[in-house]
């Protein structure tokens, strides 16, 4: 790699732009410690009342529990469904592999607002609205393409010769997969799991169509709360979410690499 330093002018130009990019995320931190009963900046005093409210108010804990459970179930199912598919796409040298791949990642191209409406209309007569299985199914539509892409990349980089070596040493196809392939793609699995969880946990537009008073998710609850009363409660919840996001970003960086996952 070259040793050239970026020009000073570029740094001076980029720094305020980075500040603009981070401003809305950063401002939630001081507001979350506000002592005021309403949104104001700077706050007239500091307190932990909104964190207390988040952890003691039943509504937040309910939707948080729903979102975590949803994220975990969706993540587990995404890996279970996408891994065999990625195996088939990477290991079988079919002529139409890239066509199948495009077809399977197509849901990512569709605007969430359109996908949400389309799913609402199909799920409504099936009684899946405001139900946990309904949300799981809808989230899978968007998490599976991510999982498929990351796992395919991981599998394509796994050592084929080591799999063949295991077969010559007497390992059946299932044991080759378990003992050689799976350990080799562990970083890809971690990255896929982290992203699937985050996509599901943060999903709001599709969920808006599928939730109701009976069952809601954290982002949907936050959306309605901001729509109605923008008090610092949302800031406290936001800070917790940002921390979670940061952890997941670091997991992805340590496992699959940020550049490789986000810059193609």
């Amino acid at each position: 790699m070259d040793e050239r330093k970026p020009p000073l002018g570029l740094i001076l130009l980029a720094l305020p732009l980075l500040a603009f990019l981070l401003a809305p995320v950063l401002i939630t931190i001081p507001i979350s410690f506000s002592a005021d009963p309403y949104l104001s900046f700077p706050p007239s005093g500091w307190s932990l009342r909104w964190y207390r409210a988040a952890f003691t108010g039943g509504a937040v804990l309910d939707v948080f529990a729903t979102s975590v459970a949803l994220g975990l179930v969706v993540t587990a199912l995404s890996l279970l469904i996408a891994l065999p598919a990625a195996m088939a796409l990477v290991r079988l040298r079919w002529g139409w592999v890239s066509a199948i791949e495009s077809f399977l990642t197509a849901p990512l191209l569709l605007p969430a607002i359109v996908l949400g409406l389309a799913i609402l209309i199909v799920f409504a007569p099936l009684g899946l609205l405001a139900t946990f299985p309904g949300l799981v199914a809808a989230h899978l539509v968007v998490t599976l393409p991510y999982a498929l892409r990351i796992l395919s990349t991981a599998l394509a980089g796994a050592p084929l010769a080591a799999e063949e070596a295991a077969a010559t040493l007497g390992a059946s196809p299932l044991r080759v997969f378990w003992r050689v392939t799976l350990p080799a793609i562990r970083p890809g699995l971690a990255a896929a799991a982290a992203l699937c969880f985050l996509v599901s946990f943060d999903e709001v537009v599709i969920s808006l169509f599928l939730t109701g008073p009976r069952l809601s998710t954290l982002p949907v609850w936050m959306f309605h709360h901001v729509e109605n009363e923008a008090d610092p409660l949302v800031a406290a919840v936001s800070v917790l979410l940002i921390a979670l996001t940061l952890v997941i970003v670091l997991v992805v960086d340590r496992t699959a690499g940020l550049s490789r996952t986000f810059v193609k």
Binding site: P6, L10, A14, L17, L18, L21, A23, P24, V25, L26, I31, L39, S40, F41, L80, A82, P84, A85, M87, A88, R91, L92, L104, A106, P107, L110, P111, A112, I113, V114, L117, A118, I119, I121, V122, A137, L140, L144, E163, E164, A167, L174, T181, V204, L208, P219, M222, F223, V226, E227, A230, V234, A235, I242, T245, V249, L250, D253, L258, F262
Partner: protein, 294 residues
């Protein structure tokens, strides 16, 4: 023994842990989810746009063009369409200008600094749009940070930065910047600092080097970033809804209102098809542009 040695055709068998015959079984689950959660709903949406909704809210299963008629003849929808495209084009342009220096800086950095900058870009990308829009509410509303600072500088009355198009443009620009930055970075692969050094040894000023060497080399990344940003702006819903406060009408918010408030599913479906058509149009334009850039 002799029989075993006789030359006979054999059935193929792979050494790979995946046998070709297993392919369909391995793909069955993901294809099922794709069909039931994507293909069928989208086709059904297309069908629905040709149905009629009664005043009572029930759907009638007969062919009907009233939704499409409304979109094509009602001045409100024509205005909505023009407004949406204009606003999204403005957002795309702003996003490009604000993202380009950041992308260039990341491209020039190596090691820890590069990773740090990438974390700063990717973290907002992965942070819920609701959280970031809430941050913009805190920044832009009448008693927010920006107005607070402006008043401290001597402004007598707060600027209206929310519940209008200004707020939506500011919020969406920031929210879409990570996508633009990552697209630009992907396109910067061809940009080698040696080209710039070569241009400068040939007597080009830094500004002319940028215009004549850097910019042309990064055009493919710019085109990709603009396509992505425009398409995402057009389909954004959370930010226009919260920062527009019901006073800014864009295609995506109208789809939601028709579907969830007015309960006119056929019209919402037809408007969805309009968004998809505009996606297609943007893709075609992008394809032409890329071919011209070469």
């Amino acid at each position: 023994m002799t029989a075993a040695l006789a030359v006979a055709p054999t059935t193929p068998r792979g050494g790979s842990p995946v046998r070709p015959a297993a392919g369909p079984a391995l793909l069955a689950a993901i294809v099922a989810v794709n069909l039931l959660g994507f293909v069928v709903p989208v086709l059904n949406l297309l069908r629905l746009s040709f149905l009629k909704v009664e005043a009572t809210g029930t759907l009638r299963e007969t062919f009907d063009l009233s939704s499409w008629q409304a979109i094509l003849t009602d001045g409100f929808y024509a205005g909505l369409l023009v407004d949406s495209v204009r606003t999204c084009a403005l957002i795309t342009g702003l996003t490009l200008v604000l993202s380009y220096p950041i992308a260039l800086l990341i491209h020039r950095c190596r090691g820890t600094i590069r990773t740090l900058l990438l974390v700063l870009v990717v973290t907002p990308l992965l942070t819920s749009a609701v959280v970031r829009t809430y941050g913009w509410v805190a920044l832009l509303y009448d008693q927010g940070l920006v107005n607070g600072m402006l008043m401290a500088l001597g402004l007598s009355a707060p600027l209206r930065l929310m519940f209008n198009t200004v707020g939506v443009v500011i919020g969406l620009t920031e929210i879409l910047m990570p996508y633009m930055i990552l697209s630009l970075l992907a396109g910067f692969g061809r940009l080698d600092p040696r080209y710039e050094e070569a241009a400068m040894t040939l007597g080009a000023s830094p500004w002319r080097t940028f215009l004549r060497v850097v910019l042309p080399l990064t055009l493919p990344g710019i085109a990709l970033g603009c396509l992505l940003t425009f398409v995402l702006a057009l389909s954004s819903f959370i930010t226009p809804k919260l920062l527009g406060g019901g006073r800014v009408f864009l295609l995506a918010t109208e789809i939601y209102d028709q579907a969830m408030v007015t309960l006119n599913w056929p019209l919402a479906a037809a408007l969805s098809m309009v968004i998809l058509a505009m996606f297609g149009l943007a893709l075609v334009l992008y394809g032409r542009l890329v071919r011209r850039i070469g």
